[in-house]
Symmetry: C2
Subunit: 376 residues, 2 copies
């Protein structure tokens, strides 16, 4: 009960801080005396600070405004992309305090060297975080593939060409390591960092197409942890073969490669170039994006008919291409969903979603179990 | 807290009874003294009985075996089918104590006379239940259409030809009336009456195709109450037009009419005849059912990729046709789902699911809030 109350105090300050003790007491329904005791414990543990005391220059009644510490535990997030690696550190306030991103050629790669390079980046960001007075409390890694529930092993990451790779085992073990699907973490970032109600379907893309379902504020992981594989929803059941073994999967019509091919471009040219040409009015590129939008609309019609979410959120690189996808998507949805349905919205996090979601997943664990991560 | 504990006692006895007071105490984690007080209140309210006392012939220690009352509150369930009306009464023990079913021609019908006939059947079953010593505690009605969340109005029931019909308002108001989609109630029946883990996708059919998603023991209703519309998931995006406005919806390939048409039969011949011909080896009928199985498999591949459920349950009339559907369904699923997936199982409730689910939804409300339904 005490652990739960400590967590309630931290979550209240995280959501609406800075707050006075009285404000916290009112929000979580405990007495002011009880809150004061909890606050003392949390400040002693270096998780909360009193702005009036610790920052003499701040406006406000001394000692009354509580905020999360910017020198307490930090979450490390990492992302293994098909063409990049990234690592960041986020403090309890949600601010990115250190970050590195490098280009990489991870397609059909040998996992060993990739993970070695990632480990080096993690160590570097860990050092930078500690130099800022932060204490890394955990590392979460976003991967473009299936991760079995509760494990750190990538079952299959087709675009990396990895199967059965224990990512967790290859990374620094100074802090607990978690591994999760990038689309899951992108959706969690959307849940934690936007004001959205906790009931949406999140669609994202890098090379593949990822999906995630959030219901009542919780990510739906599925019985084996494999939920959200929107990229393999059939949209043309007898259409293009897919490396997954199926035919006509959404990824074959709206994935990066498919769109580049339809636009008469090469894989190397990438999304930034695609976006530039679409913005410049290139008719072939725009037609290719309309085709991708239709395919997304067909797949999402099925999803919306099945789940009736409050919203469909376009994240990842799809967010950057939204202006040329949305009309075709909406056309399919309005034809194929026989009742009112949720709005389609574009994520503001864009391709940063999975990396931020990874780091924030560690921060959320600290807020949920404060004393498990307290100083010393 | 007291209400919650009364409910815990009832649920423990419902799940595993008959139980002694000590057994109940052990199962719900309260002291035996506390349980005895709760049990006294529940027996006084006519919800629990002590088998030893009330049934002198029963084996066991006198006064020790607690069971749910078979003369307490009852749930009334009703179903408006396209070609039938049904009403039943279920006691707290889950036994059907009265039941009536009549053939009807409800397709494209005037709601008034249909609901008048249903009201008469409800009154009759209510009388029969009271003659058995039961007290109807509520009525729930299963309809083949969309019901807005928290309302008793059918937004759209295409196969009845109804739009915006307040079913609740037309029925006897002696007890609270709830209205829900038949596929939702079929899935809830499966959840409450089978030993299945509470994580599955339920697919059922009468004339239309209905779906329902159960996650962690709870039905996923969707933001507007419209979740589960599996019948309008596109399986041939440029295929047959559907009355919903879309093209190539699952219902156009696996709904009753589509299958009868593909089998060279007329709508009037119905599922029983279809089943008989399939069992007799009719090649055209079997081919039609394989086609329906493929369409179901394509739609369910999308569902399984998205949700990764523990199981897919075939209910309603699909359960009776399963022997001729399953192979084609499995073929599509194994091609199109790139990882292990849940088993496909056949419901034992068959077409009784929605009716039983309706009656049991009332019983569940009594178990959840015992004193709201106590005697007097």
């Amino acid at each position: 009960m005490r652990q739960r109350n400590l967590s309630l105090v931290l979550h209240a300050v995280a959501a609406q801080g800075p707050l006075s003790r009285a404000d916290v007491a009112a929000r979580i329904g405990l007495t002011r005396a009880a809150v004061s005791t909890l606050v003392d414990e949390l400040t002693g543990a270096g998780l909360l600070v009193e702005l009036g005391r610790s920052r003499p220059g701040t406006v406000g009644r001394p000692g009354s405004a509580l905020a999360l510490s910017d020198r307490g535990p930090a979450g490390l997030g990492a992302e293994i992309g098909v063409d990049h690696l990234a690592v960041c550190a986020v403090d309890l306030r949600g601010e990115v305090r250190a970050r590195v991103e490098v280009e990489a050629r991870n397609r059909n790669s040998d996992p060993g060297p990739v993970l070695e390079q990632l480990a080096e980046l993690v160590r570097r960001i860990g050092r930078e975080a500690r130099e800022e007075g932060l204490r890394p409390a955990g590392l979460a890694v976003a991967v473009p593939g299936l991760v079995a529930r509760g494990s750190t092993s990538v079952v299959r990451a087709p675009n990396l060409g990895w199967e059965g790779v224990d990512v967790g085992a290859a990374l620094p073990r100074a802090v607990p390591v978690a591994v999760d699907n990038e689309a899951n973490l992108g959706a969690l970032a959307e849940l934690w960092l936007s004001d959205r109600p906790g009931d949406f379907v999140h669609v994202s893309a890098e090379i593949g197409i990822g999906g995630a379902v959030v219901v009542d504020g919780a990510l739906l992981r599925g019985a084996r942890g494999f939920a959200g594989e929107l990229g393999h929803v059939p949209v043309r059941p007898e259409g293009h073969p897919c490396p997954c073994g199926g035919r006509g999967c959404l990824e074959q019509y709206a994935g990066e490669e498919a769109v580049l091919r339809a636009a008469g471009m090469t894989t190397g040219e990438g999304i930034a170039e695609l976006r530039a040409r679409a913005a410049g009015g290139d008719a072939t590129v725009r037609r290719a994006l309309r085709g991708a939008g239709s395919a997304l609309g067909i797949a999402l019609s099925g999803v919306v008919n099945l789940l009736d979410p409050q919203a469909v959120v376009l994240g990842g690189e799809l967010a950057e291409l939204a202006p040329w996808l949305l009309l075709a998507m909406e056309r399919e949805l309005s034809r194929r969903v026989p009742h009112p349905y949720g709005e389609i919205v574009v994520s503001r996090l864009g391709r940063d979603g999975p990396l931020l979601g990874a780091a924030h997943s560690v921060v959320q664990r600290v807020l949920d179990d404060p004393m498990g991560h307290a100083r010393g």
